[in-house]
Symmetry: C2
Subunit: 413 residues, 2 copies
């Protein structure tokens, strides 16, 4: 196999040198094409590629039922290296039996051959309808097509991985590390079937930092925990979810490990990109009109704070109240109560935006209209103070709307 | 205090001797009146009374945030006896601090005085809006009014305890025990904020059987586990939930205990009434158009089967698909996968009504239209066979509709 990668890469003239998401870091190239899995003309095949070898890490769905590509990709990243990612939308290649695994491997092989890399350097992902075999010939042809169109912009890639999303999701951050500027970028998709612990979401982060493998893995998993694992749209998790990070070292920095003085700055950049993408996923929740941010402070530990915040963000009744711009804080209190975390209601306080509504076991007198007005914007913030300790956590969700019902009552038809 | 109970009871002439729910058993009387907690003319105060002393048992919300009446009632039933229940709708008396507890005690005392029984023989319950003080004078006046109207029909009682419910919920069963016919009846409410482990639901069972206290408690809790704890409407549990059973022994049977040969028949009657009420609650889920019954068979144990069934019945995506009459079985498989129960997808099978859609890790070829047709009626049955063991469980839910969003986006306005 030809390992002299990139020989098929042609750059579109005038294209920006860096993209806004997965190609924001140096040395990463992407493309998105239409291969016919979705309706004619809709982008449905994305390819992401690094000009040089990368260390890599991944986080995978915890659903007991997993799509075929998840296992194939987990195997590929097990050695801590990757060089390319091939993704299709429109079909999740899940509940497709042994034939589905074969299809995922064909997809992986097609990308390896098109890019001149080893099969084990390619991650694959699929998102869309469950239980139908992937039209793998179309995907193979699409991969070949995309390999010839790789460029530094990732807008087409960002669009090709979407399903019911209404917007592409890209984010990036730069940080100085040992005297060099390194970039962390990412592109994600996710709209429905989103819940803590990876809903139907895909996220592909890249960085031109030089990073030691084990440190990258630990940093990435911590960032995933504080971002994608704190998003809930509808309480469902999916069989297809995965998040990957690839670091190609193109910025030439002194390699980062856990002991490097700039390690915290790098970790913060990774977390920032993950959080920005997570917020974009929540904001684009199926049918959503509002992003809901729930902050829990004063918890005994971060795990408790996160469970409480996710419980409020995930409550159907809270979500419907936000849609109706009804500051029904009793529902928030209620969701705290069934989170499974013990706390003293008498010490808790709840704030909707600027208005404190509950403290010390009873309502704080306030104008209902003023509290409701805190829910009128596109972003709603619910803050909880527990008075139990010093830890805090944030979770993100969205409102529950007629649109959610419409989208999911007729997805396949 | 005057313990010669019943002196205020007047029976309406021509009224049926037995009701369809909580007064189906001999010696129980009920009434429902309008006391002004809800809008003028809407029934909002229910009173249930036994002519003689009862052994009793209760199950209570597991929400860490509990309404004031829950604690008061738990205390009342702790000695295993009760004689009356006073319930209001329109206000949950929850998140109301120390004043709320005082209000619940005033409600309890008012009923005890009106009925001439001990304060500790009265259970209280409140359901409705959270976080507003109960207008307790109105409730006290309503209790006096209701005490003067007690009768053997429980239709007004059944209506007075409703909130967003669209229908009263009553059920009864008769069974021969030691040569006597005994009746078990019950009246319940519940529509939104319903989830396994007691959502906003209230259930009041009565029986004229003579039952040993500890056996009644065990039998009742087992029936609650297999009925109310397997209903999910929206994933939210409430601070106000409780289920009670009162047994007054009016049928004169030889007392039942766990060793009595007719104990299983009695337990089956209790479970039957609980299941019938649980199904009625699911069918009347906020905005629901369909009852969804999920049966999981072939599980390693009943607890696993119940967790799997509840996960499918509770999935927003499954619920929206049922609303859309779209036999999107991938979502059901997905919900099994994130239930937290380990199982082998390769051994599982899924059936929508009469149509098997998935077996052995892949789809069973079928006509989509035929599968969708299984979802066209008012009751949808999803069956799962795991192939892991011999245990089974059933859970009940409903579809997710525009109506749910409408009701909960504007409940207080």
């Amino acid at each position: 196999m030809n390992k002299d990668s990139g020989q098929r890469i042609k750059f579109a003239p005038g294209e920006a040198l860096r993209g806004k998401g997965a190609t924001a870091a140096e040395g990463f190239f992407a493309a998105g094409v239409s291969c016919g899995v979705r309706r004619a003309g809709e982008l449905d095949l994305g390819l992401l590629f690094s000009g040089g070898p990368c260390v890599a890490a991944g986080a995978f769905t915890r659903n007991a039922f997993r799509g075929a590509p998840v296992g194939v990709t987990e195997e590929a990243v097990a050695d801590g290296t990757l060089r390319a990612v091939a993704v299709n939308s429109g079909n999740a290649n899940a509940a497709t039996g042994a034939g589905g695994v074969e299809d995922a491997r064909r997809m992986q092989t097609a990308a390896a051959e098109a890019l001149g890399v080893e099969v084990g350097e390619v991650a694959v992902a699929s998102t869309g309808v469950i239980g139908e075999r992937l039209p793998v010939e179309k995907v193979e042809a699409g991969i070949l097509d995309a390999a010839g169109r790789l460029g530094a912009g990732d807008d087409a890639f960002a669009e090709a991985i979407l399903t019911t999303d209404t917007r592409p999701k890209q984010a990036s951050a730069t940080v100085r590390v040992a005297g060099k500027t390194v970039t962390v970028g990412g592109t994600a998709k996710g709209s429905g079937m989103i819940h803590p612990n990876m809903g139907t979401m895909l996220a592909f982060l890249t960085t031109d930092a030089s990073v030691e493998r084990e440190y990258l893995n630990r940093t990435f998993l911590a960032a995933v925990e504080r971002s994608f694992n704190r998003v809930t749209v509808d309480g469902d998790t999916s069989p297809s979810d995965l998040a990957l990070v690839l670091a190609n070292g193109a910025s030439g920095n002194e390699p980062l490990d856990a002991d490097h003085p700039d390690a915290p700055a790098f970790a913060a950049a990774v977390e920032k990109v993950c959080v920005e993408l997570a917020r974009a996923i929540a904001r684009d929740g199926e049918g959503a009109t509002k992003l809901v941010t729930v902050v829990v402070r004063g918890a005994a530990d971060e795990k408790s704070a996160a469970a409480l915040a996710k419980s409020v963000a995930g409550s159907s009744l809270v979500k419907a109240a936000v849609f109706g711009e009804d500051a029904n804080w009793g529902r928030a209190l209620n969701a705290l109560g069934y989170s499974g975390v013990a706390f003293d209601v008498g010490k808790a306080a709840i704030r909707f935006g600027e208005v404190e509504v509950f403290r010390g076991g009873e309502p704080v007198p306030h104008e209902t209209a003023e509290a409701n007005a805190q829910l009128s914007g596109e972003e709603v913030v619910i803050e909880v103070e527990l008075g139990e300790g010093e830890s805090e956590a944030t979770a993100w969700g969205c409102d529950l709307t007629y649109g959610y019902v419409e989208i999911n009552g007729s997805y396949r038809t």
